[in-house]
């Protein structure tokens, strides 16, 4: 196993709004390494690593702790559970998948009609989220009600695996980012930077960039770096000009995404740093999709930021795939950027 702690992080359950396990795991690791650490009212975990005071500037590093998933919407007469999605989930990726339901993580499966009984014309048609059910082995509503209630979170149940350079898991989006922040912090061991660095593991990105704004208001940084996991889309059936990014080509840099054109000077600094250190990188070539950077630009007096991502195939599904080297490239680039501090110079 190349990335033990990423395995732990990815296997932790943490859909938007139910992220305490992820956040407390991170806290237990980083607490001894920082000067102060707190969890705010909405659940953001924020840690501070003080600089020498030579510079009054503050750099914010950000990743989100939440992952996409489901939530129980209704307990049916037959003991099955109906659900809705939390964050963007395509119903096609849910059929036949294992899930964990509620705070006791009761295992269940998302059922579907067997191929034998399906109308051939309906094969491969997208089912509506409303028609899918979670089966937990109950035979009637009363049994299900003993252990479950409306509002129970539902988590994908996927064990992390590595096969060669590739890793498979749920929630690479954005546990890769969470792990990048931890590794940056570790790389600062023995270093004393001139400026203060704040690490923010923020909540509820997937449902609308909700945690990052309030985290930034507590920090008031001069600049931010957002570490994300992003769409690969390098499907062989598509021509390469339709790929957003592709696995194995290194960290993904973003020049613009939904709701924001990223700060040009920060982007240029990231590009120069990657080139100088011979870190292969790629650009995200679709504008669709957004990150917490879009929120940061719109709070206080506006916080300029850069976005660096690990690309992921089958993102927002229970089985996403990354290339381990892309992730390690992000870590290397990120650590250099933080140590050099050039992203703070205006």
């Amino acid at each position: 196993m190349k990335l033990e702690r990423l395995k732990d992080l990815c296997e932790l359950p943490g859909i938007s709004g139910f992220e305490e396990k992820v956040s407390s795991f991170i806290r237990s690791i980083v607490e001894p390494r920082v000067d102060s650490i707190w969890t705010d009212t909405v659940g953001n975990l924020i840690a501070e690593k003080k600089g020498t005071g030579k510079s009054s500037k503050k750099l914010m590093l950000l990743a989100h702790t939440d992952e996409v998933g489901l939530m129980v919407k209704k307990i049916n007469e037959d003991g099955t559970l109906s659900f809705t999605s939390v964050g963007g989930v395509d119903p096609r990726v849910l059929m036949g998948k294992k899930v964990l339901v509620g705070k006791d993580f009761v295992p269940g499966v998302i059922g579907f009609e067997a191929i034998h009984t399906q109308d051939p014309t309906a094969l491969l048609k997208t089912p509506s989220m409303g028609k899918l059910r979670i089966y937990l082995g109950y035979s009637k509503k009363e049994e299900a009600q003993k252990n479950h209630r409306i509002g129970d979170p539902v988590f994908f149940d996927t064990q992390y695996e590595e096969i060669g350079d590739y890793a498979i898991a749920k929630s690479f989006d954005d546990r890769t980012g969470c792990e990048v922040l931890i590794r940056i912090l570790e790389s600062l061991e023995g270093y004393r930077l001139d400026f203060d660095v704040y690490f923010a593991w923020v909540v509820q990105e997937e449902v609308g960039l909700r945690g990052s704004g309030v985290a930034a208001k507590q920090i008031k940084p001069d600049a931010a770096l957002v570490f994300e996991n992003t769409t690969a889309g390098d499907n062989p059936e598509l021509p390469d000009y339709r790929w957003a990014t592709s696995l194995g080509r290194g960290p993904v840099l973003t020049f613009a995404h939904s709701g924001l054109v990223l700060d040009k000077r920060i982007l240029d600094t990231i590009v120069d740093t990657a080139k100088k250190n011979s870190i292969e990188f790629q650009y995200k070539s679709r504008i669709a999709g957004g990150t917490d950077a879009a929120r940061l630009a719109r709070v206080i007096s506006g916080i300029p930021s850069g976005v660096i991502s690990t690309p992921s195939r089958y993102i927002h599904s229970p089985t996403s795939v990354i290339n381990v080297n892309d992730f390690l490239g992000v870590v290397k680039l990120a650590s250099l950027l933080v140590k050099e501090g050039k992203v703070l110079s205006r």
């Binding site: 054109v261 679709r286 504008i287």
Partner: protein, 336 residues
């Protein structure tokens, strides 16, 4: 003032790449302002001091819609995506200018008439490509590498009363605000002039520009549609040439009634023609100010404009001059 308009609209500065337009505006206004600064996102914020202790803010966005290079194929053809609400239909037959200086033309992929027809029917950015005259991939990578921003490349045309150009949205507001600054001798309130960034991708600059100012009133200046063309939007009743509009509402905001009545009161007093505007789509920077801090009384003054977001946006020069008069009068009479 037409010279000033021509100067501003011919600059290519899409959202996030406002350096060129900001420099041009800063140079124009420098002799007329008491102070000027660039904020962390790149908004240009200028102040003309008054005496009342009250604060008035005018906003016009500097950016224009554009494109960005996302892919270069083995023969040197580019693929692009949009920056802001730029329709691929508008690009067919258009010329583009990139920040590197490269020029390009846009065409449609497809071999047969049937294929081309299908491409037009389902037109999106995956069905069009840009030809910058590159001889091969590496030539294209030198001239317009991935991540290069661009805009429409079209000329300013003076038709006398009517003017045509790209980026009237929202350089016409920049021109109006600059003209107000040049003519304004004695404002009642402190007047802040914000030339904002990244409106077209989601009101970015205006969401934060006033955070440290917290003015008593904010007026966004923008273009609105020109719903007076053949079979155009019958549900909206304003026209080119009948004066700048005082916005009541659009999809982004409902103007503060204080702002609306103050503008109307001043327009009547000074005999400036204005029209009321209810726009059934769209939004302006007013939304950003309305939701800043504890909230700012905000509204919008618009210049009716036909063919918005096309390479050829048309405004009426008298509407422009009347917008200058209206904003200048508001600055002189004050927010109350």
């Amino acid at each position: 003032m037409k010279k000033l308009i021509e100067k501003l609209v011919t600059i290519s500065s899409p959202s996030g790449r406002e350096d060129a337009i900001r420099e041009a505006i800063a140079e124009e206004i420098k002799p007329y302002v008491d102070s000027m600064k660039i904020d962390p996102l790149g908004n240009l914020v200028a102040l003309k001091k008054g005496k009342s202790g009250k604060k008035l803010l005018f906003d016009g966005h500097m950016d224009e819609i554009g494109v960005v290079v996302t892919h270069i194929d083995s023969n040197g053809f580019l693929r692009i995506d949009s920056i802001g609400g730029l329709s691929p239909y508008m690009l067919l037959g258009s010329r583009l200018i990139f920040e590197t200086g490269a020029s390009g033309v846009v065409d449609l992929e497809g071999e047969t008439i049937k294929e081309l027809g299908e491409s037009i029917k389902n037109l999106d950015f995956d069905h069009i490509f840009v030809d910058i005259g590159a001889i091969d991939k590496s030539d294209a990578e030198r001239k317009a590498p991935i991540g290069t921003f661009g805009t429409y490349d079209s000329e300013f045309i003076d038709l006398g009363k009517r003017l045509i150009s790209k980026s009237m949205d929202d350089r016409i507001a920049c021109a109006i605000m600059i003209q107000v600054l040049k003519e304004l001798k004695d404002p009642k309130d402190d007047v802040y002039f914000v030339f904002a960034v990244q409106e077209e991708v989601g009101l970015v600059g205006a969401s934060v520009a006033a955070f440290d100012i917290m003015p008593d009133m904010a007026v966004a200046v923008d273009v609105t549609t020109g719903p007076d063309t053949p079979k155009s939007l019958k549900r909206m009743g304003f026209k080119l040439g009948e004066g700048p509009t005082i916005k009541i509402k659009d999809r982004g905001s409902i103007s503060s009634s204080r702002v609306v009545s103050r503008l109307k009161e001043i327009a009547e007093k000074k005999e400036i023609p204005t029209q009321y505007e209810v726009l059934i789509f769209g939004g302006t920077d007013a939304r950003g100010y309305q939701t800043t801090g504890r909230g700012i009384a905000s509204g919008t003054v618009s210049v009716p404009c036909r063919y918005v977001h096309s390479p050829h946006e048309m405004v009426d020069y008298d509407d422009v001059l009347n917008a200058v008069r209206l904003l200048k009068a508001l600055a002189e009479e004050g927010v109350e």
